[in-house]
């Protein structure tokens, strides 16, 4: 009976605070995961880890890595053992909702701007209500991060010429 409160204490003292602090600091939006793909462990749980760089044919064939692809492969960012988490360079496991920590490892100046709200986008209430921060991956596909060009909305209508003038 004594072990339960002890366990609770341990979780509250060590597990939760780290987690909660990170989450409350930046109220981020949902990562744009393809529908039905998460949790990754659904498929990957019993699978052997294959760290070899190769062409993906059966699954994830839509992913064309175009993000320093010569130096990088899936498991540099995706955690090989606990598949539902991402991985920092120092080995720390992070949630998909904390991916800004991962991007910030290399893009430090952009990350600094993102934290103060200069890079990226925030919507909702800046005062007296809920505010949402867009994650890096809400605008940049992490596998091909360059912002894609868009079709512009129509230009304004030119003023009519009247009486042939």
């Amino acid at each position: 009976m004594k072990i339960v409160p002890l366990l609770l204490f341990a979780i509250i003292a060590f597990g939760v605070p780290v987690f909660a602090a990170r989450h409350n600091e930046y109220p981020v939006s949902t990562p744009p995961l393809t529908e039905g793909i998460f949790p990754c462990s659904n498929c990957h749980a019993g699978m052997e880890v294959n760290a070899k760089k190769r062409e993906l044919k059966d699954e994830h064939a839509n992913i064309k890595l175009h993000h320093a692809e010569n130096d990088r492969w899936c498991l540099d960012c995706h955690n090989p053992t606990d598949r539902d988490k991402l991985k920092l360079a120092n080995g720390d496991k992070i949630q998909f909702t904390e991916s800004h920590l991962l991007c910030g490892q290399c893009h430090g100046n952009i990350y600094r701007d993102w934290k103060v709200g200069i890079h990226g986008k925030r919507i909702g209430y800046f005062k007296g209500g809920e505010r949402v921060y867009f994650l890096c991956v809400n605008c940049h596909n992490p596998h091909d991060p360059k912002f894609k060009s868009l079709k512009p909305e129509p230009p304004p209508i030119k003023p009519e010429r009247k009486n042939g003038r």
Binding site: V116, K121, C139, S149, K151, I157
Partner: protein, 300 residues
């Protein structure tokens, strides 16, 4: 002693109301509303009770006209606030999403006349200063185009606004939180302000505004996005109906690249203050001493 001007006003009110009522007994309530609108005081001189009455009358008029229940706010400025806007020119791709979000949020006339408060101009690379060579009818398949920069221009909410100074009837003024507003009920449509504005920040209702009823935004502010009438001037109000409630303006939320920033210039922790203190910033036509509160900046 009774106030003389008050007596004269009351007398005129009575006389004209009597005359109008006698002229058209058939549509009495409608006529009365028009008379009351005609005799409405300047917005800044109204008491709270008078404001309430004017709002009630306007809401009724809108209901008759559009068949929709409007909520018209008169929320005043917060004393500790001076709004400022930031626009990141290194991120803007000229997609015009902001223009159409603004049109929708602020009940602009869609066509005949087509009114837009934001004008996105395209500049050739390397001639950012040369506004003579801009183009705002560009329409490529995809933006951004190589070799071009884009710069959205809207009301710059000058600290020293020339448009306000030229208005002969004080129908436009600067609010304590820095927003330059127009009272459409007081505007006589002389368009002096349009001529005075160096940023083309104002547009005119040459005809009766056209808005599809199902697209009307019914959450409005008296000095902002309430439906306008023919012959009045209108302009960007930083989405007064949203920002005074703590929400970002519609253009900020619509921008797909996050180039648009907004905040309180008096708050040292705000995003806009960070931009001014840490980024390369410029204001449009600064040499005119209009002191815009719209800061263009480069983050990259």
């Amino acid at each position: 002693m009774e106030d003389r001007s008050q007596t004269r006003r009351d007398f005129m009110k009575m006389m004209s109301m009597g005359a109008m009522a006698a002229l058209s007994l058939g549509s009495l309530s409608c006529t009365q509303a028009r008379v009351e609108a005609f005799l409405q005081k300047h917005f800044r001189e109204m008491t709270e009770a008078e404001k309430k009455e004017a709002i009630r009358r306007l809401e009724e008029t809108y209901f008759r006209k559009y068949g929709k229940k409007f909520h018209i706010s008169t929320q005043p400025a917060d004393a500790a606030v001076l709004w400022g806007y930031g626009l990141d020119l290194s991120r803007c791709i000229g997609c015009r999403r902001c223009v159409y979000a603004c049109v929708k949020e602020n009940n602009q006339s869609r066509i005949n006349p087509q009114l837009q408060w934001i004008r996105v101009v395209r500049l050739k690379d390397g001639s950012l200063i040369n506004l003579e060579n801009t183009e705002h009818y560009y329409n490529p398949e995809k933006v951004p185009e190589p070799g071009f920069q884009y710069m959205p221009v809207q009301c710059q909410h000058c600290e020293n606004p020339p448009c306000v100074r030229v208005c002969p009837v004080h129908a436009t003024w600067k609010e304590p939180d820095g927003i330059v507003v127009v009272d459409y009920n007081w505007c006589i449509g002389c368009r002096y302000c349009i001529a005075a504005c160096p940023y083309k920040g104002r547009v005119f209702n040459w005809g009766e505004p056209n808005i599809p009823p199902e697209e009307l935004n019914t959450e409005v502010h008296y000095l902002g996005n309430r439906p306008r009438m023919k012959n009045v001037v209108e302009k960007c109000t930083f989405c007064i109906q949203r920002v005074r409630n703590g929400r970002y303006p519609a253009c900020v939320e619509a921008c797909p690249t996050g180039a648009r920033k907004f905040g309180n210039l008096l708050d040292p922790d705000s995003e806009i203050r960070y931009i001014i203190e840490n980024k390369r910033v410029f204001r449009l036509k600064e040499d005119l001493n209009t002191e815009p509160k719209f800061y263009y900046f480069f983050s990259a």
